[in-house]
């Protein structure tokens, strides 16, 4: 097991290096000189000032050296000063991280507590209208544009019915620890973010449960006179749940990526919204910090998924 963990950790290093190269290159190779952009229209701005700024941000060195400078700082969590806010960009990003984690965590929870039972129920009610409805939902849930669903839900629940707030994390002026108010703000974005995963899990669990139910050990369990409930929970479900772990990688990637759009729709002050605004404003340090941070998060979660998988299914370690 220890060898397996060490090997996977070593595999993650070239991936992270590749990600850092892409992150660095895209921002640097893009047309449009950030210095020119941010000094545009300033009077008395001489060529000497330009050179000085170029030097200050280290933009006058050759590209590979710039990359090495950048990566050695980035490893220490220093992505440079934001071009707009003039504050350390990684620190600013970290202030938004808890918000995104709350949103993604709530969505993941919803996916598991709604998606998994849906799939299992569909498998046990196979061929009935319940199964049909869940299968339709499994396809439709993938096909809905999440940002549009968000808009529709805001129209229905926030504008028409006035049950839930439409924007932000907390009603302005409310106490910071008003949990109920926070939950109300969380429901819509978390549900929209969770939808694809719910559909995904319901499909996977249905197929998997059907596969397991058709296997010999389940028939044996029935044959030796075990109660239905014992067979379902201790024999069938335990095996059907393995793909929940396998699918986790794709689900987490979807959550991190999807959060960007959802945060924009619901004005949720998270990492995605922050990075997006910075990209529009061509504030490279923040964009780079945002991309590196979320990517590292993703690589770590892939790693955790593989490790969990190895624990759940010991056959994996051999491979």
């Amino acid at each position: 097991m220890r060898d397996f963990i060490i090997r996977r950790l070593i595999y993650a290093i070239p991936t992270l290096i590749g990600i850092s190269i892409i992150t660095f290159a895209i921002a640097r190779l893009a047309p449009g000189d950030p210095i020119r952009l941010f000094t545009f229209g300033i009077r008395d701005f001489t060529e000497a000032d330009y050179q000085q700024l170029l030097h200050r941000y280290g933009l006058d060195k050759p590209m590979p050296l710039q990359y090495i400078d950048w990566i050695t700082n980035a490893v220490r969590g220093n992505f440079g000063e934001s071009l707009i806010y003039h504050r350390e960009s990684f620190t600013m990003l970290l202030e938004r991280v808890p918000n995104t984690l709350v949103l993604a965590g709530a969505a993941l929870l919803l996916q598991l507590i709604i998606g998994v039972p849906l799939g299992v129920v569909a498998a046990f009610k196979r061929g009935t209208w319940v199964d049909g409805a869940i299968r339709v939902f499994g396809v439709a849930g993938h096909a809905v544009p999440p940002f549009w669903l968000g808009l529709i839900l805001i129209i229905v629940f926030a504008v028409q019915l006035r049950w839930l707030p439409s924007l932000g994390m907390l009603t302005v002026g409310h106490d910071q620890w008003d949990i109920l108010d926070r939950l109300k703000h969380l429901i819509l974005p978390a549900f929209v973010l969770a939808l694809t995963g719910i559909a995904n899990y319901s499909r996977i669990l249905r197929t998997e449960t059907l596969d397991v139910l058709a296997q010999d050990f389940v028939r044996t369990a029935y044959a030796k006179g075990l109660r239905e409930r014992t067979v379902v929970f201790t024999h069938a479900l335990r095996n059907a749940l393995i793909p929940v772990v396998t699918a986790l990688g794709g689900v987490l990637a979807g959550l991190v990526s999807g959060a960007l759009v959802i945060e924009q729709v619901f004005s949720w002050p998270g990492v995605g919204q922050f990075t997006f605004q910075a990209a529009i404003a061509k504030d490279y340090p923040i964009v780079q910090a945002g991309v590196m941070f979320t990517s590292t998060l993703l690589v770590i979660s892939y790693l955790l998924r593989d490790l969990t998988y190895a624990v759940v299914d010991p056959r994996i370690k051999a491979g």
């Binding site: 895209i26 196979r126 544009p145 990526s257 960007l260 759009v261 729709v265 892939y302």
Partner: protein, 307 residues
């Protein structure tokens, strides 16, 4: 005499042979009975035809150009009285129904062409990596894990924010970034297939690598590639709509289903008809593509158990 007559009567025993059917014949046979997939396919054709015929509709039916404005008729409610306002008008009096028709052109074009680029890159790299293994496989796997390590929208976001895209740029960007899933699948299949007896047999009679890859391995992977392709087109249409919604895809005045929703946040309280139809079109198109993908999988994968 009697024995030879008896023998003559015995000889032509009726041989019960079903006419042979190829995988594709079989799939077609199954598809013809799959009403849902056929319905999805028909709807998709209709949607594509409507989008392609958008200029005709705009000229002869609605008498309204997609960029035509009318500041006296902003936020017009949907009405049958004036065909141009069949689905209402937007904040500067443009006809929603005409823009919706034109919007489909870009969304479908980007979806299908970018998916084609994905397939070309994904299949060739996956096939090569799986077949040759070694350093080539390591390199391809490295590229794939790297691209998969960056959340898709973040990657597209920075690329699109820095290079303002038109339809062609968007096709290239999505086409070159979204092929990893297809590639991983083809690589895995090739890994397994190259160890099979028919490949060894081909090699013993002197077939070269290229022939084995394209004549023996690819045809075995091909059926499921069609499934992945249908799903990929749907996923790309969703992706393009999200990017355009964020203002980073195709920019107005060229309408796409995604960018019709960009400004929706500022007026959706008063004009639901500007919010519901574009998203519904995306939803319908993607749903059809996913259903076709599912139907193709059922028809083409002989190993799939019928649940």
């Amino acid at each position: 005499m009697a024995t030879s007559a008896a023998a003559a009567r015995i000889v032509p025993a009726p041989v019960l042979v079903r006419p042979s059917r190829s995988l594709w014949d079989n799939a077609l046979w199954k598809l013809r009975r799959d009403k849902l997939t056929i319905a999805a396919f028909c709807i998709l054709i209709v949607l594509a035809a409507l989008s392609l015929a958008a200029p005709l509709f705009s000229q002869y039916v609605f008498h309204y150009k997609f960029e035509q404005q009318d500041l006296l008729h902003t936020y017009e409610k949907p009405t049958f009285a004036n065909p141009a306002y069949l689905l209402g008008s937007d904040e500067i009096g443009r006809s929603q129904v005409v823009r919706l028709l034109y919007g489909g052109q870009i969304s479908l074009l980007v979806g299908f062409v970018a998916a084609f680029v994905n397939l070309t890159v994904g299949v060739s790299l996956g096939l090569a990596a799986g077949y040759f293994r070694g350093p080539l496989d390591d390199a391809v796997t490295w590229i794939i894990t790297t691209l998969n390590g960056i959340p898709q929208l973040y990657l597209l976001l920075i690329v699109a924010a820095l290079w303002t895209p038109g339809p062609l740029t968007l096709i290239v960007i999505i086409g070159l970034l979204n092929w990893t899933g297809i590639s991983l699948f083809v690589r895995g299949q090739t890994f397994a297939l190259r160890e099979r007896e028919f490949v060894t047999a081909a090699r013993t009679i002197g077939a070269r690598d290229r022939r084995i890859m394209f004549r023996h391995i690819l045809p075995n992977v091909l059926p499921l590639i069609f499934v992945l392709a249908a799903i990929d087109v749907g996923a790309i249409i969703l992706l393009e709509s999200a990017l355009s919604f964020l203002g980073l895809g195709i920019l107005p005045p060229t309408p796409t289903w995604g960018n019709l929703l960009t400004n929706a946040v500022s007026y959706f309280v008063r004009a639901w008809w500007l919010v519901v139809p574009p998203g519904a079109m995306i939803f319908l198109t993607v749903l059809c593509l996913y259903l076709i993908g599912d139907g193709l999988r059922d028809a083409l994968d002989p190993r799939l158990k019928t649940h």
